[in-house]
Amino acid sequence: MEIQSNGEEGSSIGFRGWIACRRRFKPDDSFFAAGNIERELLAKQVALDLTEDERYQLQKMEIAEAQLVFCPIAGCAARLNFLEDFEDHYHTRHTASCSVCSRVFPTSRLLNIHVSEAHDSFFQAKVSRGFPMYECLVDGCGVKLKSYKSRQQHLVDKHKFPTSFEFYKKARPSKHQRHRYQRRHASHSKEASKDTDMEIDTTKSKRASQKYRPRKLTNTKQRETEMEVEESVNDLIAAVSKLSTSDSSPSSISFGHRHARGFAFVPRSIRQANRKQVSQPEAKE
């Protein structure tokens, strides 16, 4: 498919969209393998009188040899063929789920990183003392950064991750929420109140909702986040000194595999700090 360059607003994501074009294959392309084998079988069938059994064996053999591919998850290198259910392999090898917040990760390494960063108070304590704790997500890189943001930056600069990538992801909003949003938005004119809506709403929703973090943080949001972190660190240091095993109970019980309720991905201590400040009740599902 040709590379398409778009200056249009609608394709600002730089997405290589569908282009209808002719596809040609060389005669020795694996695309034609099945037909070639069939040709030889048919030619010899008259002389050899193949039984149904033999035909079946041959077909199986041909399919199995069709194409061996490697699992595409970075660092996996498992060999699969088209017969093997990729789903099965993916689920057995690549779904590690967090026991605290039930978020699912494709590798156990990432799971461990997530647990440290999101659920480990000790981790936060070391961060506040200036230790570089945020590991690069790319296996084998080994670099550690001092903050979440600087780690993000490293991923973008060094490893060409998209700027919209976020390791801390809030779960998707529920269908109900999304529909409420859509209905609400239908009555606004987008252009006029877009920015202000965003600001106000994100301020409120930062505490209450679950959604993807927006690409651009407004200034207000940034300040608040930093403030938040400062306060929470103080609380954290206090909390560490009172550390006991009972602290490790999950702050929210989540049902299901992926749609965690509550602030699943922000450290619990930070959330606790917020709750003290906010008078509004948390949004319920």
Binding site: F15, P27, G35, K44, E62, F82, S164, K211
Partner: protein, 541 residues
């Protein structure tokens, strides 16, 4: 969604596996045992591009006495086969046994004192015995024969001026030796120039045909041997032989040529098309009713159209497309349909000429082709379905009229069914077709516009899960295809319906790509999520 990745054996197979044989069917049993015993080697022999010559196509003057001997021998061999492995089989026809034959021939040939018709006759008869030994079973005792020194002997037997029968039997032996594994085929090297020479126009047709068969086996081995044959000038005599009126001769020559053309280097194809009379011969043969001949000639067209632009042009100018379309529509023979379909596929894929100038919507040829393709989609055979979908996808990449033609045809329900139920390779081709129907032809650098009513209709008929399934596949191309279709849905469906539809299952599939090692796919998936499910999405109050 039934995923038919493993072909289900027919019920007949199942029955055979479980029923207790009430009737004692000896020969069927023996065949089955033979299959088990020979196993892997046989399988490999079956899918090789080489063919054993089992029967004479020329007059075979056999004495009835010898025929009795034959059946006894056959029985011994069969017994041996059923009770032993392949290696044992080969030693059953012992080295010594063969050595004796070969020595006898050598003795008779070289002994100057024994001359005259009698000696020649004896020589030929012994050679014939050797040939029979090399033609009987599916896995002839080639190794033993090679060890006994058969090649130098046969090269001697091919000397110019030798009696016709001798040439014939020698060529036949070489044919079957060449039909074996790579080492065995390569052993024919000393004989190649002679074989090429004996396809000359002064040779008896039967001899030329037998030599062509031997060369076909050699060419079917691999690129290295093909290059050697081309260097030795095998192309021209074979091409001339293909112009023969005799059906079996033309067929054998065409088959040998198709093996020689395979390449992947295109030089054989470009040279062949320049030879005077070749195109005419192809056209003549494609008109005939002889299915076997048409099949082999169609394979020649397959390779010509895949490897040579000049050939494509010449073929189209000489109306070969119409002949192929006619065969596609009329024939029911799988053997014939495969190369005919593929030739058409290659011609359509080669350049726009086919879709622009020949397959004009409204012309008879276009209607015929479409119905031929639909017939292939309905056929139970995987290969026909897949390659027909491929051809359709390339037609669907044509003009708006072509897209509308396909959209309003019988093909649509078939395609949708295949997208949701067929094996992976078929689903991929069908996906290309359906997606191509939804985007208009693009001018350079512009994002093509979406044909909304096609897209809406496809979604209404339940295509979306089929594409989401592709997004989940291991194959990068298919995943990309699925993502591109999701983008079309989200961008093109009216009233923001696209988002609602994709979020059900699509986000799940897209999120999987966060840690994918392929950067492009990662960016595509993340980009889609951010654009459509990012900033302005899902606020709460």
């Amino acid at each position: 969604m039934a995923d038919d990745d493993v072909p289900q054996p027919s019920s007949q197979y199942r029955r055979e596996a479980f029923k207790a044989s009430a009737v004692h069917n000896t020969s069927a049993q023996r065949r089955r045992q033979l299959a088990v015993a020979v196993g892997k080697e046989k399988r490999e022999a079956l899918i090789r591009a080489k063919r054993l010559c089992r029967e004479a196509f020329f007059e075979d003057n056999e004495v009835s006495l010898e025929r009795d001997m034959d059946t006894d021998e056959e029985k011994t061999i069969l017994d041996a086969q059923t009770s032993q492995t392949v290696d044992d089989l080969k030693s059953a026809l012992t080295y010594h046994f063969l050595l004796a034959f070969i020595n006898l021939i050598g003795l008779v040939y070289f002994n100057q004192n024994i001359s005259g018709k009698g000696a020649t006759q004896k020589k030929v008869e012994t050679l014939r015995e050797l040939r029979r030994l090399l033609s009987k079973s599916e896995v002839p005792p080639v190794k033993a024969a090679l060890q006994a020194g058969v090649i130098p002997l046969l090269v001697q037997c091919l000397a110019f001026g030798s009696p016709d029968e001798q040439l014939l039997e020698a060529a036949w032996c070489l044919t079957n030796i060449a039909a074996g594994d790579p080492e065995e085929t390569k052993s024919l090297m000393p004989a190649l120039p002679l074989l090429v020479a004996h396809i000359g126009e002064k040779s008896l047709v039967a001899i030329a045909e037998q030599c062509a068969w031997a060369l076909g086996n050699v060419a079917g081995e691999g690129e290295e041997l093909r290059n050697i044959l081309l260097a030795q000038g095998a192309l021209l005599p074979l091409a001339r032989l293909m112009m023969s009126d005799k059906g079996s001769t033309a067929r054998t020559a065409a088959w040998a040529l198709s093996n020689l053309l395979k390449g992947p280097h295109p030089k054989a194809a470009s040279e062949l098309i320049k030879i005077k009379g070749v195109i005419d011969a192809i056209v003549q043969h494609l008109r005939k009713e002889d299915d076997e001949l048409v099949t082999e000639v169609a394979w020649v067209v397959v390779y010509l159209s895949a490897l040579s632009e000049v050939a494509v042009g010449l073929l189209l100018k000489n109306d070969v497309a119409q002949l192929l379309v006619g065969k596609l529509a009329a024939s029911e023979s799988l053997q014939l349909l495969i190369p005919v379909l593929r030739s058409l596929g290659n011609l359509v894929a080669a350049d726009g000429y086919m879709t622009d100038k020949i397959l004009i919507v409204g012309y008879n040829i276009t209607e015929q082709l479409l119905s031929g393709l639909i017939k292939c989609l309905k056929n139970e055979h995987r290969v026909l379905k897949k390659e027909a979908a491929w051809v359709l996808s390339n037609i669907a990449a044509g003009s708006i009229k072509h897209k509308e033609l396909i959209y309003s045809s019988e093909a649509m329900p078939l395609l949708i069914h295949l997208l949701l139920n067929a094996t992976f390779d078929i689903r991929k081709e069908v996906a290309y077709t359906l997606g191509n129907l939804c985007v208009a032809p693009s001018k350079d650098l512009e994002q093509p516009s979406i044909i909304v009513h096609h897209l809406v209709s496809l979604i209404e008929h339940g295509c979306l899960p089929g594409f989401v399934h592709l997004v989940r596949s291991v194959d990068i191309q298919s995943a990309r295809l699925g993502l591109q279709f999701l983008e079309l849905v989200m961008r093109g469906m009216p009233n923001g319906e696209g988002l609602k539809l994709v979020e059900e299952d699509g986000i799940d599939a897209m999120e999987r790509f966060q840690f994918h090692e392929n950067e492009e796919i990662r960016n595509m998936a993340n980009g889609l999520i951010d654009k459509y499910f990012g900033e302005d999405y899902g606020l709460d109050e």
